[in-house]
């Protein structure tokens, strides 16, 4: 379980995260939603120790994130940010192999290679695994990065806007993979997501944030309601039920 306790973050004199406490359940998909600048990505980065927090504590399975050894944490929690600029030329397979670094320290064992092949198969990248990243489309590259995170084989997988720049087909494909990660492999998946209907259809829990605070958290059914969404986004939502999924209509 990820346990965030009274965490704050200040940039200059702006409180980007203001006394946030939230618990993330194991083996489920939890989505963070909210308008731009709500602090979702910042919170995700703090949970995964990419940036330091100013106040509060974060525990992952009872371990304090800031005190734990970085290499041990890398076997427990992985994060993929929304923009990944890599300056070097890598093939898909080489990138995915980097996911094994916490275990192998750069010397891949037989078992590491098995995990890499598995991750590539999981993301259906077999036919392009020897291509260079700069030869791929945005969707293929995103899948390659997710394959790397899968190869890292952590209990907790944090993804910051994994659907960024993807078309509908690839978005659905990635969400299905995340669902499989949670249901079949028992991983805890945490995503920041802007498409509220993807959040509604695929996640178990939703945390709604606004202005650096958690406004409401709960199961998908509790959050995807007109009153909660109106409060979060300051606009009118209509919610229809189609095939037992709640779909938000907000385009008018």
């Amino acid at each position: 379980m990820v346990d965030v306790k009274h965490v704050s973050k200040v940039y200059g004199n702006k409180n980007v995260i203001n006394d946030v406490s939230v618990k993330i359940a194991k083996g489920k998909i939890t989505s963070f939603i909210g308008p731009n600048g709500a602090g979702k990505s910042t919170l995700l980065s703090m949970i995964s120790r990419l940036i330091a927090k100013d106040e509060g504590e974060i525990y992952i399975d009872g371990m304090d994130v800031t005190r734990c050894k970085s290499n041990e944490l890398a076997k427990k929690i992985s994060i993929l940010k929304q923009s990944n600029n890599i300056n070097i030329r890598l093939t898909v397979k080489e990138l995915v192999s980097f996911g094994r670094f916490p275990y192998s320290q750069g010397r891949l064992t037989k078992e590491d290679r098995k995990f890499v092949a598995e991750a590539i198969r999981y993301m259906e990248l077999e036919d392009i695994q020897h291509k260079y990243l700069d030869q791929l489309s945005g969707g293929q590259r995103q899948r390659a990065y997710i394959a790397m995170v899968i190869a890292q084989d952590t209990e907790y997988v944090l993804l910051d806007e994994p659907l960024n720049n993807l078309d509908m087909k690839h978005s659905v494909q990635i969400m299905k993979v995340l669902r499989k990660l949670a249901d079949e492999l028992g991983k805890t998946v945490v995503i920041v997501i802007h498409d509220i209907n993807f959040a509604s259809c695929y996640s178990d829990y939703i945390v709604a944030m606004k202005d650096g605070r958690v406004i409401k958290e709960g199961t998908t059914d509790e959050i995807i309601t007109p009153s909660v969404l109106n409060e979060v986004y300051d606009m009118d939502f209509k919610i229809e039920e189609i095939d037992a999924e709640r779909i938000c209509v907000f385009y008018s």
Binding site: A52, F101, Q152
Partner: protein
Amino acid sequence: MSNKSKLAILAVISIALAAAFIFIDLGSNWDYALPRRIKKVYAIVLTGAVIAFATLVFQTITNNRILTPSIIGLDSLYLLIQTFLIFAFGSMNFFVTNENINFVISVGFMVLFAGFLYKLLFHGGGQNIYFLLLVGIIFGTFFRSITEFMQVLIDPNEFLVVQDRMFASFNNVKTDLLLIATVAVILITLYSIRYLKYLDVLSLGKDQAVNLGIDYDHVVKRLLIIIAVLVSISTALVGPITFLGLLVANVAHQFLNTYRHTQLIIGAVFISIIALVGGQLIVERVFTFTTTLSVIVNFIGGVYFIYLLLKESKSW
């Protein structure tokens, strides 16, 4: 062609050039010429290896292939130290004439300065490597200005001594320093071995490196100190020549086309040796000492740098 055979070719060329340098026109007076030439080649190889390694690591940490460690002002600090010693104590002083003492003073101050920069970076909450570079550039300019100021005031005869130290030259390698430099390089190499495995991951950028379990601040701090010591050693040995690193690191990237630092480092070291020994051979045999190696290196390096800039701007 696999990278292993490419590295083998580089090794063969390096050895061939070194042999050519030692044995061409050796004459009959072996006892005199041979040890002198071997010492010179050894100094060149040591400097080349050190510069190649330092630049490669620096470029990986900064994720930028057009930077050299000279950007944080170590070269300028070296010149400032030399100028100040001569300005304050005169060129016949013990601090200037005793090469070993001079070496220890120069390296000591350069490492202290690097330590100060990193303290600023890692305790000021800046946490951004580009902030370090910026501060380094400012200090470098500051050092250069003071140096020039002192050079203007200095006695013209003393200035000649300063000038002698301003340009890298292998014609008067300080062979007295070889022993102390070798010991320092060996110690640094032993110290840096455990950090080498992190270099590949560091080239993915800070976020990925942290995600993959690298204690980023700790590792980068150690690597920066390693770089500072190495640059100090090479500068004290032959003078400011970090521009060579830019050339060598980029040629290594281009030639080997890999992200693996074990191969890149070995390749860069050999390319560096080829460039320096080959260049020195040309200086001695073709130009018959009418120019210095650093002039040739800076000329070729400069042309290559402009080419890099033009090429990079096209791809944006």
